[in-house]
């Protein structure tokens, strides 16, 4: 299989593992995180830390909600976002969500909780991988994106490149870390630790094609049941990163969960950037040469 430069950098790409050079490889694997059934128990966060031996990174209280993890980072590879909203009262569909004491509710308003377990998106076009100068970040045969820690030299380029703010440098260690989609477990045919631990199947692991079908059905079912805000996020191979290997069903706009509404892989514009830089470089040389015209005054 051969790929054009544009296909390599952005747009729909059916088989990222093949693009990375794997001839024969297993199907692309991923996560479908259905936040409509997340109960915010954080079992995924704990299982991830335990299995991957991710070090403790502070036991602080954020003071903003039940979310005391805050964000994904070098030592947080699953992060359960917790959003408390006051909404106009309506006859809500019972999603099996936890209820709150009635005293907290005004007459025409009710409180709703949104919980969502965030993770590295394992982008089809992963900016972190594109910009990594050492080859430490690589595409696995499952189409996922993993850091080889024995190669990473801590240049930090992947950190501002990621459009989701996922990957980061671990202080004191100097290297970049993020979710591996449990490369060790999946290689042995096991599901990742977070999916295994999730008590409500909010985190589902499987073949990406199958997960996309299942997710489409779930959205339809929720719409039929009256939950019109249900929408998929990161499922579309035509989006700015070519679709995510880990995608979500959300109940509100992505930015409410701390997710960018329309992320684009920065390297999509790289050919234009190099072209401009080369033209200006030639301009610099021409300018310097021009300064010598006219000889000695």
């Amino acid at each position: 299989m051969s790929f054009t430069l544009d296909q390599r950098l952005a747009g729909p790409l059916a088989d990222p593992a093949a693009e990375a050079g794997y001839d024969e490889h297993p199907p692309r694997m991923g996560f479908f995180t259905d936040t409509s059934v997340c109960i915010g128990c954080k079992a995924c966060e704990v299982a991830c830390k335990e299995w991957n031996l991710v070090p403790e990174d502070g036991l602080d209280l954020t003071g903003m909600s039940y979310d005391n993890t805050g964000e994904l980072g070098a030592s947080t590879w699953r992060h359960v976002a917790f959003v408390e909203q006051t909404t106009p009262r309506r006859d809500a569909v019972d999603l099996g969500m936890p209820s709150v004491p009635q005293g907290a509710v005004e007459d025409d308003r009710e409180v709703r909780w949104l919980m969502s377990s965030d993770v590295c998106k394992h982008c089809t076009h992963a900016a972190c991988l594109d910009v990594c100068p050492t080859g430490s970040l690589f595409r696995t045969e499952f189409g996922t994106v993993v850091v080889q820690e024995d190669i990473c030299n801590g240049c930090g380029y992947c950190v501002p490149a990621c459009p989701y703010g996922v990957i980061d440098i671990r202080p004191g260690d100097g290297r970049a870390w993020k979710c591996t989609l449990c490369y060790d477990r999946t290689s042995a045919g096991q599901e990742p630790a977070c999916a295994k631990a999730c008590p409500t199947d909010s985190i589902q692991y499987g073949e990406l094609d199958e997960l996309r079908e299942r997710a489409a059905q779930r959205v339809d079912a929720l719409h039929e049941a009256g939950t019109s805000q249900a929408r998929l996020y990161g499922h579309d191979p035509a989006d700015g990163v070519g679709g995510d290997g880990a995608f979500f069903l959300l109940l509100d706009d992505p930015e409410v969960y701390g997710l960018p509404p329309d992320p684009v892989v920065t390297t999509r514009d790289l050919p234009a950037m190099w072209t401009r830089a080369a033209a200006v470089a030639a301009g610099v040389v021409a300018t310097v040469a021009a300064a010598f015209l006219g000889g000695r005054p």
Partner: protein, 333 residues
Amino acid sequence: MTHQDHIDTPAGRDVRAPRERAAAQPETVPPAEFRSYYGRPVLKQPVWKVPDVPVYLFSGGMAGASAVLAELAAATGRPALARVARLGAAGGALAGVGLLIHDLGRPARFLNMLRMVKFTSPLSVGTWILSPFSALTTAAAASEITGVAPVLGRAAGLGAAALGGPMTTYTAVLITDTAVPAWHEAYREMPVVFGASAVSAAGGLGLLGLGVLGADVAENAPAARLGAAGAAVELAAGTAMERRLGDIGEKYRTGPAGRWLRAARVLSATGAVGAIAGRRHRGVAAASGVALLAGSLATRFGIFFAGRASAADPRDTVVPQRARVSRSGPGSP
């Protein structure tokens, strides 16, 4: 708008009584408001260290333009200017290598950069520009100082000059090839700002160096022209960039970035005027050179801090993306 506000209630955080509030429900949909997760950043801030990386952006650019300047000065019979520029090119390049290695989380592994050449990584491409450039400029400068192997030194200098242009602009690709809105959205103008800033610094170095050496002021005309022209383009392109960025451009006007860039403007403009008007006066020429160098350095700091601030502000990430989705659907350019 905060997380507490629900999409169905665009009036936002309303403190009025429920009945009043219901009566005041707007009939038309008001403009979309900015929503976020407790106001927290979406992106991670660049972890690149200060002053390492902004100083590298400066010294690499100055070195690149100086390498070109050196060979043209040598070819046109301006030995003092050639000497200053060769030393500046080597000094800037070596400082750059040192700064970049120091900036790594694992400096001992810096050679891992040389495992591969990767065109999608401006840092990889840049490493392959900077490494030969620093070797060649060092050889040219060593030959210049010692007088040993002048032919080889000259050849090394020509090689360095060939890489000099790319040295001045690849760093613009380096920072704009990120998700940081104030950087990425400026990818059209940034190489012009960086290239001009590099030219201005090389001109400034020439003026300063010739002044310090006590060389005949007749030699410094090209340096004065370059300093002034570079500073003028740097100012113009920087202003155009801020304007075109719209709301995101605010990051170049406020906070530490705004302070650095205001200082840069004063320094570059003063240096440019001094270079043109006072180049025949040795003291004025040298002082103008210092101002041009400082202006270029301050520009790099300002741009660096603007990127940090932009990554930290969820507004810069969310608002343009939200507008894009509402306009034409996800993933559209």
